[in-house]
């Protein structure tokens, strides 16, 4: 399609800037001078995908190599999708506008389970066979990485290669191997077998899965010498890990429109519901010098006036004060504000508040997760009610009149008292505000409680638990609504339908592949967007495939059951997860990695917090 016609069509859709490309720092190369073309595909819209740090890292890392051209691809919003279908426009990459079906690699990032249907839709729009077994040509090779690869069995039928863990090194090794095969004219089958030998590579077609009569997994058996178990890959020294000096700066406003500097990977805390807290172990920090140097480079190359210090729990950085002082020595002068997402309640101080408010004031959000101390102990949150109240007091003293608190409902052992506890805690925070003699004058307080639904995830101590049903979710949400008495408390919650489907995929197995294919044929896409999510289509798809989704989401699993992900090794042992789950049942907390090693298994890597001097 010629550019003129393409641009005319762009003007007929919402936000044409999603598809036009040409942003600052986007990379244009001469396609005749590269050996490998890689389409980095984010299975959601531009605004969500462009906010993703992993894409920025790999995009720059790949493009630093002269022989690789990495371009970006996002799921077209339904208005543009119909324009594409009506005008026979195949899925294209933003930089070159070339069809991705002519690329060597399509690399999807799996950030959340509800993006799976978009992957199928993007393959279809690209004109590429959806099932991996139907893709007999050598290229494109369809690969996928990201957190969901720790159990991406539900989409194993559609992907040639999964990358487990951190991809900075694995991806380039696979690309180099591909180049060799392409040059020597090897077959795709041979390439996949050879790739499976690279650490961090999981080729699902090289493993057979058998099932018991009770429908649980019997065994996963490797073929052609594929490794067992498949180990995740980590970056050992974050000071030496590639980090981009430039980010593509979008023209249109995206979800997280700011510079991002990653300060560490992993989390010391071990909250029992949190998958990220286990699959990214061990904690590895960047030094203060590295963070400052990288943060400055990104601000200079983008013109952003805000930098976010990214990690799973930013206030746990071991030298936070020194880090902030160093950053403030130039950010203040350059009118750059610091934002610290993921602040913990138990180490929030006046000084910290003062530092993050130097240039602009941002909102304050804290994760309390559960309404009562009993339940917070069950999930190993390790914060007390006093700490929550004290933190809000600090915020109010600092001039804040609004705080946001995160909670979950549906956690293991939860009772209606725990639900009421959420409302009581919010009320206590409201009361605290009005009891303060030095409260901000003439202002009213607002406590925003945001309640999501707990979804049990693989590689967590709660992977054995059943998820509460949709009906229970609705009942608990209704009950919580009744418990809230004050107009100062606002309450927002997640849809039960999407949480249910997320729960099915999170712990699903390969038999779900045909359900996803069927749902795709019925038109399912953008499932994480309430306006497009259609549970009925999904339930019809389950029924037509003879699969009961509750088997995956709402069933208690025994410790000796073979989980669909048990052949993947994230260095956190099942014995440890079982031990933690038993401690949860009796409300016993576990100290964090810095206080005392719990022998989860990650110390075998001999890196990061596991070998810190204490």
């Amino acid at each position: 399609m010629d550019n003129k016609r393409f641009e005319q069509l762009l003007l007929t859709v919402q936000k044409p800037g999603r598809y036009s490309g040409g942003e600052i720092n986007s990379v244009i190369k001469d396609k005749s001078k590269v050996d490998v073309r890689f389409a980095f595909c984010f299975p959601d819209n531009y605004e969500v995908g462009m906010s993703h740090l992993g894409m920025k890292i790999l995009y720059s890392e790949f493009n630093e190599r002269e022989d690789i051209w990495c371009e970006r691809v996002f799921a077209p919003w339904p208005d543009f999708e119909s324009v594409m279908r009506n005008n026979n426009i195949e899925l294209f990459a933003l930089e070159s506008r070339d069809p991705v079906k002519d690329f060597d690699f399509l690399g999807f990032t799996l950030q959340y389970e509800l993006s799976y249907s978009n992957i199928l839709n993007m393959l279809e729009l690209a004109g590429i066979p959806i099932l991996a077994k139907d893709r007999t040509d050598f290229s494109p090779i369809v690969v996928a990485g990201g957190p969901c690869t720790c159990n991406a069995e539900p989409i194993a039928d559609f992907i040639d290669i999964f990358f487990l863990g951190e991809g900075e090194k694995t991806d380039l090794q696979v690309i180099d191997l591909y180049k060799e095969f392409k040059k020597n004219g090897g077959t795709k089958a041979d390439f996949l077998v050879a790739a499976s030998k690279i650490e961090g590579v999981y080729v699902p077609s090289l493993y057979d899965v058998s099932y018991n009569d009770d429908k649980t997994v019997k065994a996963v058996t490797p073929k052609f010498g594929a490794p067992m178990p498949v180990k995740k890959r980590i970056e050992e020294d974050l000071d030496k890990t590639y980090y981009p000096e430039k980010f593509v700066v979008p023209f249109i406003e995206i979800v997280h429109d700011r510079a991002v500097e990653e300060i560490f990977r992993g989390c010391i805390r071990g909250c029992r519901f949190c998958q990220a807290g286990f699959i990214y172990r061990p904690v590895r920090e960047k030094s203060v010098d590295t963070v400052c140097r990288q943060a400055k480079a990104i601000c200079d190359s983008t013109g952003y006036d805000e930098i976010s210090l990214s990690s799973l729990s930013t206030s746990d950085y071991s030298d936070l004060e020194n880090l902030l002082n160093n950053l403030l020595s130039w950010t203040e002068k350059d009118k750059i504000s610091l934002s610290l997402p993921s602040l913990r309640i138990d180490n929030f101080s006046d000084e910290l508040l003062e530092k993050i408010n130097h240039v602009r004031k941002s909102g304050l959000t804290f994760a309390a997760e559960a309404g009562t101390q009993r339940l917070r102990d069950v999930i190993n949150k390790n914060i007390t009610e006093d700490e929550i109240v004290k933190t809000c007091k600090t915020a109010f003293k600092g001039g804040y009149t609004a705080v946001k608190l995160y909670f979950m409902i549906g956690l293991p052992t939860e009772t209606y008292d725990d639900i009421k506890g959420i409302a009581d805690l919010a009320q206590k925070i409201v009361d605290t505000f009005y009891e303060m003699p030095d409260k901000p004058k003439g202002k009213s307080v607002s406590v925003n409680i945001s309640v999501s639904n707990f979804v049990p995830k693989p590689f967590t101590p709660f992977e054995f638990h059943s998820q509460i049903t949709r009906e229970e979710i609705i009942k608990k949400q209704e009950y919580l609504k009744q418990c809230i008495r004050s107009k100062k408390i606002s309450f927002s919650y997640h849809e039960n339908k999407t949480s249910f489907l997320e729960g099915v995929f999170a712990r699903g197995d390969r038999r779900l592949g045909k359900v996803i294919l069927k749902a795709h044929e019925k038109g399912c896409r953008f499932d994480s967007w309430d306006e497009y999510f259609d549970l009925q289509k999904w339930m019809d798809s389950f029924a037509e495939c003879g699969i009961d989704p509750a088997f995956y989401a709402n069933r208690e699993r025994s410790y000796d059951e073979v989980n669909p992900w048990d052949h993947l090794d994230y260095y956190v042992s099942k014995e440890f997860l079982i031990k933690e789950n038993e401690r949860a049942k009796v409300g016993k907390t576990t100290p964090n990695c810095r206080l005392q090693c719990q022998n989860c298994g990650a110390n075998i890597l001999g890196k990061g917090v596991c070998v810190e001097n204490r």
Binding site: P16, G17, D300, Y304, V359, R360
Partner: protein, 220 residues
């Protein structure tokens, strides 16, 4: 202590940049002046940001050949002849500055804008345009602030027009009211034209080539 210095910057917006809305242009320019390292005046308040104002917003999809924005520099000794190259060094090729000078006229003096529109046809459409644009009245639909439409007559508003043939295209030059008092987006005129001539004559290329004062002199 230096006094503030207001500078008027002139730039071109074309290619992919045509898909950048006015609101997004604002954010884009904020980053560009920061990236260029200009010592620019920041608004003082809750959310300090570089002071930037645009003379006349450009509708989404149009190319702009004479776009204008004003900034304030903290240092009135600054050699403004350096600004064009400083800014272009950090801009994508579809947004490029071509002049920087101290403002001569006030933004309120903007009265007209001149457009150049290419049509994908070399014969018939020129005659149709010529007869359409001299009709009285020319009824067009305009979206009101409330979100509904009202009908207005644009026949009195067309200050000047001219059609020419250029290779396989018909080129229309059009001058319409612009600015804070009276502003006509040429799109509504084309919409009315297409309603009368539903064949697939497609204009693919609208350029705003200059911004004028009430005497049809360039706004400087």
């Amino acid at each position: 202590m230096f006094a503030l210095k207001t500078v008027r910057l002139f730039f071109v917006k074309k290619g992919n940049a045509r898909f950048v809305s006015h609101l997004d242009m604002n954010r884009f320019m904020t980053r560009i002046v920061r990236k260029a390292g200009l010592d620019i005046w920041y608004t003082e308040g809750f959310n300090p940001h570089p002071y930037i104002t645009f003379a006349l917003p450009l509708p989404l999809g149009f190319e702009g050949r004479y776009e204008i924005m004003d900034i304030r520099l903290n240092n009135d000794d600054f050699d403004i002849s350096k600004l064009v190259s400083m800014l272009n060094g950090v801009c994508p090729s579809d947004i490029q500055f071509f002049d920087a000078k101290e403002p001569i006229k006030k933004v309120g003096e903007i009265a007209f804008a001149k457009y150049e529109i290419l049509f994908d046809d070399n014969g018939e459409i020129r005659n149709k345009l010529n007869s359409f644009l001299v009709k009285k009245p020319i009824i067009c639909r305009k979206r009101t602030k409330k979100g509904d439409f009202k009908e207005i007559d644009l026949s009195e508003k067309i200050k000047d027009f001219q059609t020419t043939l250029e290779g396989d295209n018909t080129k229309l030059m059009l001058i319409l009211p612009a600015g804070s008092n009276d502003n006509v987006n040429p799109s509504i005129l084309f919409e009315a034209f297409y309603n009368e001539n539903p064949n697939a004559y497609y204009c693919y290329d609208v350029k705003r080539i200059s911004i004028l004062d009430k005497n049809l002199k360039d706004f400087l």
